[in-house]
Symmetry: C2
Subunit: 298 residues, 2 copies
């Protein structure tokens, strides 16, 4: 990433963090809002909201109308991590180098903070997006909300989580692994670009192109997750490494080995950039997101 | 309730159950959909969706356009019960005379089924409500979704749950108890009538009237809950009775005693009916709902 792109990237990230901070006020009962803020404002790469903002910008010239949706998608991502880390799920103590939500606020608050974020995210889309003539059309916002609720639910994200949990310690097929990856990780990447594209009122061709781009980088991101679980330390990763093997989880590496998996990540990122190129979508940031996945350390 | 009203009531209930069954298909991965269906289709009085349908009907002449929203509100209600019953929350084994969701499907699936319902409910509102000219306006549906997400979130329902959990074993004030009741129970009753009224495109006066009606019956319903916890058996209640005292929970009865609490339920139900009368809202069903609360056995 050259310095100019790095700067743009940082600006998006700062904007997202400023807006997330603004959108989630502390109010009574403080504990639940603090718990929501703890996880949403715990850092992270903010890749998903950056995808939403940049996709909207490259397809319509501005990203402002996508800010609430971008933040909502990051809230949904945080929600899935809070519940994923619960004792009855992955039972993780660390996330992004900090104690997990339930370790700080207790299990019942962590469950409720996740629940609250699931409703608060679409609430922010509705309340903070400017609608009406010359602004986002009501019908368009409903489309965004439909994409959002479908991606968050039992047809996508939660389908991936359920099959993932059910697969622990089992010898699963490549197809099942693909299903888990496409839904548990891929669905949110797809939502991120599609929501941006829908807000940009783009055409079918470009919507399909960014969707394919997101499928590629979503898969690359997940394979990289499997790789990092093997090759990283707790400090680098910010969460406990080596969990997949310990839990007898089948990963990309079980099927393809470490080197071949790395090669696949590289190919997928190149293919993602080629798709954009082919459809005349010129965005250094979208390319940089793809390339950053190859260089992930956490 | 006379036979005619009882029949109308039953018809609404059957419609809601038929539609809930239709709206939640079994699909891959089956376990999560079965878990969602288990709780949503576990029976219950269906008071909230009936309130939505009847409020829409009495204010606009028909209830059809409110069917998806009515069902979504019942899904939200089920969701709150699934998570409420979790070991880290109320730790209940029985609900509506059946084993609780996590007892049948395991804790992780119960958490995810609740999460899934939180997104599936607004998804159903968006996908199943007919929108456009001569149908529900897009802007109106966004208002309904806003009411829905606010009621479900940390400003209402979850605020009530958090304060409720935090109050266990503590000597709380009447104001705190009121806050819990208004948010934990009242918010969904209010949402039920307000969503129906918004879909009916009613005026501010009538919207306020049904809101006040819902506040009264919501409070009456919750006081009755406190009463039944003291006076009922497991068979009658369908869930474990005597829990409040065992957990050192302050309830209406701690402040007012059993007899005075019963009187308050009666007054609130009468006041609720009077509000409707005063604003020319003539609905035998809404009156019957209010009166049914006095006669609740579960």
């Amino acid at each position: 990433m050259n310095d100019d792109i790095k700067k743009q990237f940082e600006e998006y990230k700062k904007l997202v963090e400023k807006k997330l901070d603004e959108f989630i006020p502390i109010q009574y009962p403080e504990k639940i809002w603090e718990s929501m803020r703890y996880s949403v404002l715990a850092g992270g790469k903010r890749l998903r909201p950056i995808l939403t903002l940049e996709t909207c910008k490259v397809l319509s010239g501005s990203y402002e109308k996508a800010i609430p949706t971008a933040c909502a998608i990051e809230m949904l991502h945080s929600q899935s991590l809070i519940h994923d880390d619960l004792p009855c799920m992955d039972n993780d103590d660390y996330r992004r180098g900090k104690l997990t939500n339930h370790k700080v606020f207790g299990e019942s608050t962590a469950v409720l903070a996740g629940d609250a974020l699931l409703s608060f995210a679409p609430q922010i889309i509705i309340q903070k997006t400017k609608c009406g003539e010359n602004e986002v059309k009501y019908e368009t916002l409903l489309k965004v909300l439909e994409e959002f609720t479908v991606a968050a639910g039992a047809e996508k994200l939660i389908a991936g989580q359920v099959v993932d949990i059910d697969s622990e310690g089992k010898q699963i097929s490549k197809e099942t692994l693909k299903f888990i990856h496409e839904n548990k990780t891929g669905a949110l990447f797809k939502l991120s670009v599609r929501a941006g594209a829908i807000l940009a009122e783009t055409d079918e061709e470009k919507l399909n192109a960014v969707t394919k781009y997101a499928e590629k980088i979503g898969l690359a991101f997940q394979i990289m997750d499997d790789i990092l679980d093997v090759t990283s330390t707790l400090e680098e990763l910010g969460k406990t490494p080596g969990k997949d093997e310990k839990e007898g989880k089948v990963t990309y590496i079980s099927f393809y080995g470490l080197e071949e998996s790395k090669k696949q990540v590289s190919s997928l990122c190149t293919e993602a950039c080629d798709i954009l190129e082919k459809h005349g979508i010129k965005s250094d940031i979208l390319k940089a997101v793809a390339n950053s996945i190859k260089e992930r350390v956490n």
